[in-house]
């Protein structure tokens, strides 16, 4: 890298970061989504301090009580505080969603970049693995194996979810890498004798970062949905641990009579995934210059009222 020769003082042109941020702020959906996610995180981690009740301790003087000042979201059949439980479950679901998205994106970027960069048999073997895992219903394997992982707890569950969540992303990274491989700066690095793994980490991955960020954002929502679905059927987080999925499973039978056992958790789940999807959509518009939805590129777009 050469340092640019300083000429006369000029106002700095807006950097890419500024540009992306300004585009993101212009997208109302993304801002709403970000605010919602922040609020939900605040609720998940600050919520336990808002109530004197613990998520597991029963209040025997209040069984099946509707929401009140004492119990914000009411109580369940054994007198546990639903607010404390929901907040705790939200916390667990959020952490699981984030970790799964992180791990699966890491795996996808490594496998995809290696397959695309090295080509040949590496590519063929890795793509066969991708196809193989895509033919497999992930749900099926997770349900079968999760029974054996009871003792390992929820971290094992996170790894399992991540293990079946990276294939499509890896395919996209691979095809992006194949076209990047022939670009001048990558060739130059190769001819200078830079090691392949260094080229991948220094030149390839930064150039697919936009895609990875968008994909990871959307993956958070998907992971939370899978987590709750699996936990609902008893294949994910297991009692006494609480997640939104176990809460929904516990509350669903009583939902017609005691709606607070079901609908608070359900609403928070939908709200969180919705917020994450809104951010992902906004990020796509802000980061991806080819997406037609970006405000300045689309001539079809009418002015907002």
């Amino acid at each position: 890298m050469t340092t640019p020769i300083p000429t006369e003082k000029r106002p700095r042109p807006a950097g890419r970061g500024r540009l992306v941020l300004s585009r993101l702020l212009a997208a109302r959906g993304a801002v709403v989504g970000a605010v919602l996610v922040l609020l939900l995180f605040a609720l998940a981690f600050g919520g336990p301090y808002l109530t004197p009740w613990d998520y597991a301790t029963p209040d025997f003087s209040a069984l099946h009580q509707p929401p009140s000042a004492e119990h914000l979201f009411g109580t369940n059949g054994v007198g546990q505080d639903v607010f404390a439980q929901t907040v705790r479950g939200l916390q667990k679901s959020l952490v699981i969603g984030l970790l799964v998205a992180l791990f699966s994106t890491l795996l996808a970027s490594v496998v995809g970049a290696c397959a695309g960069y090295f080509g040949g048999w590496t590519d063929r073997a890795l793509m066969f693995l991708v196809d193989l895992l895509l033919v497999f219903p992930a749900f099926l394997v997770i349900t079968i194996v999760s029974a054996r992982l009871k003792s390992a707890g929820w971290i094992a569950f996170v790894l399992l979810l991540a293990l079946f969540n990276w294939m499509i992303t890896a395919r996209v990274v691979r095809s992006m890498t194949i076209s990047l491989r022939e670009r001048e700066f990558v060739r130059a690095a190769r001819f200078m004798g830079v090691r392949p793994l260094r080229i991948i980490s220094r030149h390839i991955l930064p150039n697919v970062a936009s895609f990875l960020i968008i994909d990871a954002t959307i993956a958070v929502g998907g992971a939370v949905m899978s987590e709750t679905a699996l936990s609902y059927f008893g294949f994910g987080v297991k009692p006494p641990d609480v997640s939104l999925g176990t809460l929904l499973a516990a509350g669903t039978g009583d939902a017609p009579v005691f709606p607070w056992l079901f609908y608070f958790a359900a609403a928070l789940l939908v709200l969180f995934v919705l917020a994450v999807n809104l951010i992902g959509d906004g990020l796509r518009d802000a980061l991806d210059p080819t997406s037609g939805a970006s405000p300045r590129r689309s001539p079809r777009r009418k002015r907002r009222p």
């Binding site: 066969f128 895509l134 033919v135 219903p137 099926l140 349900t143 669903t252 079901f262 359900a266 809104l278």
Partner: protein, 326 residues
Amino acid sequence: MLRYLAKRLSYYAVLLIAAVFLAYAISATALQPRTYFEAKVPRPSVSSVERQLTALNLNDRTPVVERFGHWAGGLLHGDLGRTIHDTPVTDDFGRRVWVSLRLLLLGSVLGMVLGVAVGAWSAVRQYRISDRLLTVLSFVLLSTPVFLVALFLKNGAIAAKDAAGHEVVPFTGYETPGLTGGLGAHLADWALHLLLPTISLALGGLATYSRYQRGTMLDVLGSDYLRTAEAKGLTRGRALLKHGLRTAVIPMSTMFAYSFLGIFTGAIFTETIFGWHGMGEWLIKSINEQDVNSVVAINLFTAAVVLASGFLADTLHAALDPRVRS
């Protein structure tokens, strides 16, 4: 073109064999049929457990490869092995596959057709109130897991029943047991039972497809050939239908083919929640019963359907795009 298709087909065959073997290996080692027999009351003797396990080809003391060989040998004669209750797996399979297919076909076709229609309509009316409403609605649907949609629908049906004093829409099972009457009555009964499960399956697909279709349709809307079509005298509507929608649907065809796994996973939840005795419910049941052979049979079914639809997509793609064939 035939050579290209033959190549794809052989690749899929290898993939299918590998996937089935992997499924067998995972199910046979992770599930524990031995504990199922040992937990029976009165507790059977060790030798009798051993005998039953071996008879069902479930004995964990036999190497997995040997058990797989035995199972694969049976498969060549159309035998999927025996369930843990010592009945043929093919019996369950044959009965449940039709229950599921009814739901899967209807749910996915409805999701596709409505998704494409809604997406295209939404694109034509971009940024109007209706487009914005549909966008918000599809985002909410995309953010709601299928099992939650199914639970909402079921709770709604229960609430309607409590309010009306009798069942308004059925929410358990796929037919009224012991229903008398002619073919018409039976068909109406079936349709009514299909209503809620189908909606719960179709809504997810509808939301996904409509978003993508809106995107592809928007790309097409700005194209020159559409303007040309209008310039040569077609009305806007006819031009959109004949030239716009037709082109915009092509990129979606691959997506339809590969959506099967998602729909099947959705059906697992839908069937369990609405009490349908289909493949999805069977999966949950057989995993809980440590029924290895049934689990593998379901795996075989999904893998075969996925690869068949993948092959269909390849054929379609090759037929439409000559560049693929070379």
